[in-house]
Point group: C2
Chain length 111, copies 2
DNA sequence: AAATCAAATTACCGAATAGAAAAAACAGGA
DNA sequence: TCCTGTTTTTTCTATTCGGTAATTTGATTT
């Protein structure tokens, strides 16, 4: 995995991907798919508690940007994660959050 | 760095952070700070080619969410990266992009 | 004190988008 | 074919947010 120079053009593409992950509803969908491997839209409605039309739009976006895969089976459509990279991203973010919490802790304990 | 369970509340916080990174202008700012270590607002205006008020707002957001630090020196304000985690995130994103490009390549070469 | 420079803030506009309701597309029975 | 169930698409409203211009705040200099 070579590291590319971050040109303005590449930064635009990266920002676009971050935007897909910047919505709690979509992260909830991805997380539900991590737990359950593969879920139909109806099942996802229950797991995520999102409205049907709303969920469908989010799934369309997630699929269009390559985060999830779709499989049709009769009238049902099943979605699954393309890969687990998303959660690497979340873990790094969580690492950031932990560090920030530690910093705040230090500042508080000094006073 | 322990991995936390991704509760809906945590996913909201994570989504918020992703949103900060979902804007090309802000990624350009962060990238400029990676190259140059520490820059004043005036210098950042030149490097990023953003308007003054616009840049100031982005910097406020980046600082408020802990991505950059500020240091006042007289009338000048200098900004620097809090840490390089952002670029780990970008690299993972780029890894995703590369994989997707490979997939497309495979599909094309099959036909 | 007045003038100047740096940076932040405010006010406004326009574009993008989440959410919900309704309609449409699609597939499987009866 | 009609009906039912699943999913997508369309349409609408309200909100959010980026960009710009104008103003304000703060610091330095003369």
């Amino acid at each position: 995995m070579s590291v590319q120079p971050l040109t303005p053009e590449l930064l635009e593409i990266i920002a676009e991907r971050f935007k897909v992950l910047s919505e709690p509803a979509r992260l909830r969908i991805l997380n539900a798919l991590r737990v359950d491997e593969e879920l139909s839209v109806s099942e996802l409605i229950e797991k995520t508690e999102l409205g049907q039309a709303n969920l469908s739009k989010h799934l369309g976006l997630l699929h269009g940007s390559g985060f999830v895969e779709r499989r049709k089976e009769g009238a049902f459509v099943y979605y699954s994660l393309s890969n687990e990279d998303v959660f690497i991203l979340c873990d790094v973010m969580c690492g950031r959050l932990e560090k920030e919490a530690d910093e705040r802790q230090k500042i508080l304990s000094r006073s």
